[in-house]
């Protein structure tokens, strides 16, 4: 009898809401978080639209429930806010005896204080307290210290699939019997560093992005943090707590094509999705919705679209990218979109792909244009692909209450 992995808590902060309720509200109102830069000091790139969390640095401390103090990055604070929401949602503190882990993901997030204070780091001792906020582990250890999680912690960085990989590692550690429950997800704050990096790659859209549209023109970056609480069947039985859904499939593959570009036939995306479907024991026809990686770049949407066509054949389920709402939250995108996919199961709706108007000549299917409310949704797939061809796909399934 294979062991099952249940989701029992969710926490999220992005440009469309500081918590799960606000996120849901924005989705139902088809509200985008993308707009003019307000909080990031973006210099010459101040005119590039992004999806910022609508909080100043000081307000982030408030939401995290700690006094404004030195030694914190915005990246760690966003992570603390979302992880705490998930932790409380799953009522982890109620059953202290279980082995609990924290698996977090981030890539450039730690740069947020470093890029401000780099000259100080080199030349004087005035900002030494921020030096340790640079590495990827800092946000994870800050979250673990706040929540008192000690049994296992690690940090993953596979670029834009990082937090989807955090979720699958959590599941595998529970299956292996190493942990009873895991807070898994990721955090990534906007930095000038990656805004300029993506700009140098010439893949940022100067308008709101249009995934899967013939005239798509690139990415809008976003920031945020999102965490899920995963639990073993035994752990859920002990606590008798509410189950939100089940994580039934995951797949990780490497495209091995190019450091930043996707292959024209989407071999990495295809393999990741196929592995996830195979592991779940489902048939491709059972998948009711795909939350696509759908960045809105010329390259991704062809590659991912073709991979979907190859795997699903003539039975392609509704597909949408929700990046026009949240922006591309990079390392946090996998967990952000996992939560949106789970909301699809819980609310029995599919949110449309905003800004779509013209079908892509290269693809045979269209993304979802209007909100779908009349479809039974039992299984959803969420895709996350990253630089280096690190591709991951997750499947969440409805659990009858």
């Amino acid at each position: 009898m294979p062991r099952r992995i249940f989701v029992t808590g969710l926490g999220i902060i992005t440009g469309i809401g500081n918590n799960l309720a606000e996120t849901k509200d924005s989705l139902f109102h088809l509200r985008t978080g993308i707009g003019r830069i307000r909080y990031l000091n973006a210099g010459l790139n101040s005119d590039i639209p992004v999806s910022e969390v609508k909080c100043s640095f000081e307000e982030c401390f408030q939401l995290a429930g700690i006094p404004v103090s030195e030694g914190y990055s915005r990246n760690a604070l966003l992570g603390m806010i979302a992880a705490k929401e998930a932790y409380l949602d799953a009522r982890i503190a109620d059953l202290p005896g279980l082995r609990t882990g924290l698996i977090s993901a981030t890539t450039v997030g730690g740069m947020d204080r470093c890029e401000l204070y780099f000259d100080d780091f080199l030349n004087n001792d005035s900002k030494n307290i921020y030096i340790d906020t640079y590495d990827c582990a800092d946000s994870t250890e800050k979250i673990a210290d706040m929540l008192g999680i000690r049994d296992y912690l690690t940090t993953i960085s596979t670029a834009c699939s990082s937090s989807a990989n955090a979720i699958q590692l959590g599941a595998r550690m529970i299956l292996n019997g190493d942990l009873d429950r895991v807070v898994a997800g990721g955090t990534e704050t906007l930095t000038k560093f990656h805004l300029f990096g993506f700009d140098a790659l010439k893949i940022l859209d100067k308008e709101i992005s249009k995934p899967f549209d013939e005239n798509r023109n690139g990415i809008n970056l976003g920031e945020g943090a999102a965490y899920l609480v995963l639990e073993s069947e035994e752990s859920v039985k002990k606590s008798g707590k509410r189950i939100l859904c089940e994580l039934t499939g995951w797949g990780n593959a490497c495209e091995a094509f190019h450091q930043t570009a996707s292959s024209p036939d989407g071999i990495g995306a295809y393999l990741a999705m196929k592995k996830a479907v195979d592991l779940s024991g489902l048939d491709v026809a059972d998948i009711d919705y795909i939350n696509a990686h759908g960045t809105g770049t010329d390259n991704n949407d062809i590659s991912e679209g073709r991979a979907i066509q190859k795997l699903f054949g003539t039975a392609i389920p509704p597909v949408s990218s929700t990046k026009p709402y949240t922006g591309h939250t990079t390392s946090a995108a996998g967990a952000t979109e996992a939560i949106i996919s789970i909301l699809c199961l819980l609310e029995q709706v599919i949110w449309p792909n905003l800004n779509f108007s013209e079908p892509m000549k290269d693809l045979d299917f269209l993304p979802v244009k209007e909100i779908i409310r009349d479809k039974k949704i039992n299984h959803v797939m969420s895709n996350s692909f990253g630089f280096g061809g690190n591709d991951t796909s997750l499947i969440f399934s409805r659990v009858e209450p």
């Binding site: 912690l153 550690m173 300029f196 140098a200 280096g388």
Partner: protein
């Protein structure tokens, strides 16, 4: 962590010593007067095409070369997974893009260093060279980076998800990073004679770097350096709890301290850091041969992987190099080695390896 034993069937190590040739084992050791041990470079063109070598930063070259040496050593052409750990990732490219952005007033930025700055660059570049579409993962958690990669390998091999894993670690040091971390007292400000590192009582370790790769397999191969029997990691432990944690760790593998032939510790020359090891030695290992290795590779987030390489080479050669033995006498037969490392007293790890 629960595990079935796994086997190390290949090694590839680029370090501040000449360690890339597996037919030699520290016959020559280089010491110096420094606060930073820089990696010895093999001829990278033997491993990477000439036009690519020129575009790559040091850490990428080190990682690819160590990975390739390891695969060749174990006769593996296509591992079922590539899993690496790194503390700071591709810090040279990161600094390059950051300083260009700051110094050039944000203009004329080229994306190359940004592209190569992500932490998963080494894992994905190895996959690219091998055309390996299999599982590919990068861990980035300070002194748990390598251990997390090892744990994932253990889970994959134990569950049957993979039969072979190319497991590795990479970290590089740069002048800026060294200067910045010296501010925190992590590294010594003044050069020391590395073979007399422990006589120097100044604050901080000597900095290091390296890329160590291991082909790990669920079944023994034609050549087996060692068997990994157990792994544990613990975070910010209460100092009083560490000895118990270690004895419990051994007990879970059906072992006691008497079964351990030798202990390798991450002693790095920083008095505050080394006190943790002294306490454990006094309480548990006063009668045991004790070895160390950071005078050979320096201190960095994934230095424990150098420790695992060293233990593997000691076991297959049944020889402890003179410079490694810090205390005690050489036992004639080396059966199992315990490696205990901690990174800044935050991330502690235990690895138990045995001869095959």
């Amino acid at each position: 962590m629960m595990m079935k034993p796994i086997y190390i069937t290949g090694l590839g190590n680029i370090s501040p010593q000449k360690t890339w040739d597996n037919s030699h084992f520290l016959e020559e050791v280089e010491f110096g007067e420094t606060n930073y041990l820089r990696c010895k470079d093999p001829n990278y063109k033997e491993y990477i095409a000439g036009d690519m070598v020129r575009r790559m930063s040091r850490i990428i070259k080190m990682g690819i070369a160590a990975g390739k040496i390891c695969l060749t050593d174990s006769d593996c052409t296509m591992p079922d997974a590539i899993i690496t750990g790194t503390g700071l990732g591709c810090i040279e490219d990161t600094e390059k893009f950051l300083t260009n952005m700051i110094r050039n007033n944000e203009e004329f930025l080229t994306p190359t260093s940004f592209i190569q700055s992500t932490h998963n660059t080494v894992s994905s570049q190895i996959a690219l060279l091998l055309k390996c579409h299999n599982y590919n993962f990068t861990y980035v958690h300070r002194g748990f980076s390598f251990e997390s990669a090892l744990l994932d390998s253990i889970i994959r091999l134990g569950s049957g998800e993979s039969k072979t894993v190319l497991l590795g670690s990479t970290d590089e040091m740069t002048p800026n990073t060294l200067a910045i971390l010296q501010r925190l007292g992590q590294y010594k400000r003044k050069a020391v004679r590395t073979q007399h590192l422990l006589k120097d009582q100044s604050r901080g370790a000597i900095a290091g770097e390296g890329a160590a790769f291991f082909l790990v397999s669920s079944t023994p191969g034609s050549k087996n350096y060692a068997r990994i029997d157990a792994l544990d990691t613990f975070y910010k432990p209460d100092p009083e709890s560490i000895p118990l944690r270690i004895t419990e760790f051994l007990k879970r593998s059906g072992k006691t301290i008497d079964d351990v032939s030798m202990v390798l510790m991450g002693i790095n020359g920083d008095p505050a850091n080394d006190k943790v090891y002294d306490d454990v030695t006094n309480r548990l290992f006063s009668e045991k041969p004790l070895g160390w290795f950071k005078h050979l590779c320096g201190e960095y987030q994934t230095a424990s992987s150098f420790g695992l390489w060293l233990a593997s080479m000691i076991l297959i050669n049944n020889r402890v190099p003179e410079t490694v033995l810090l205390k005690g006498i050489k036992t004639s037969e080396l059966n199992s080695i315990l490696i205990y490392n901690h990174y800044r007293n935050l991330n502690h790890s235990l690895m138990l390896v045995s001869s095959v």
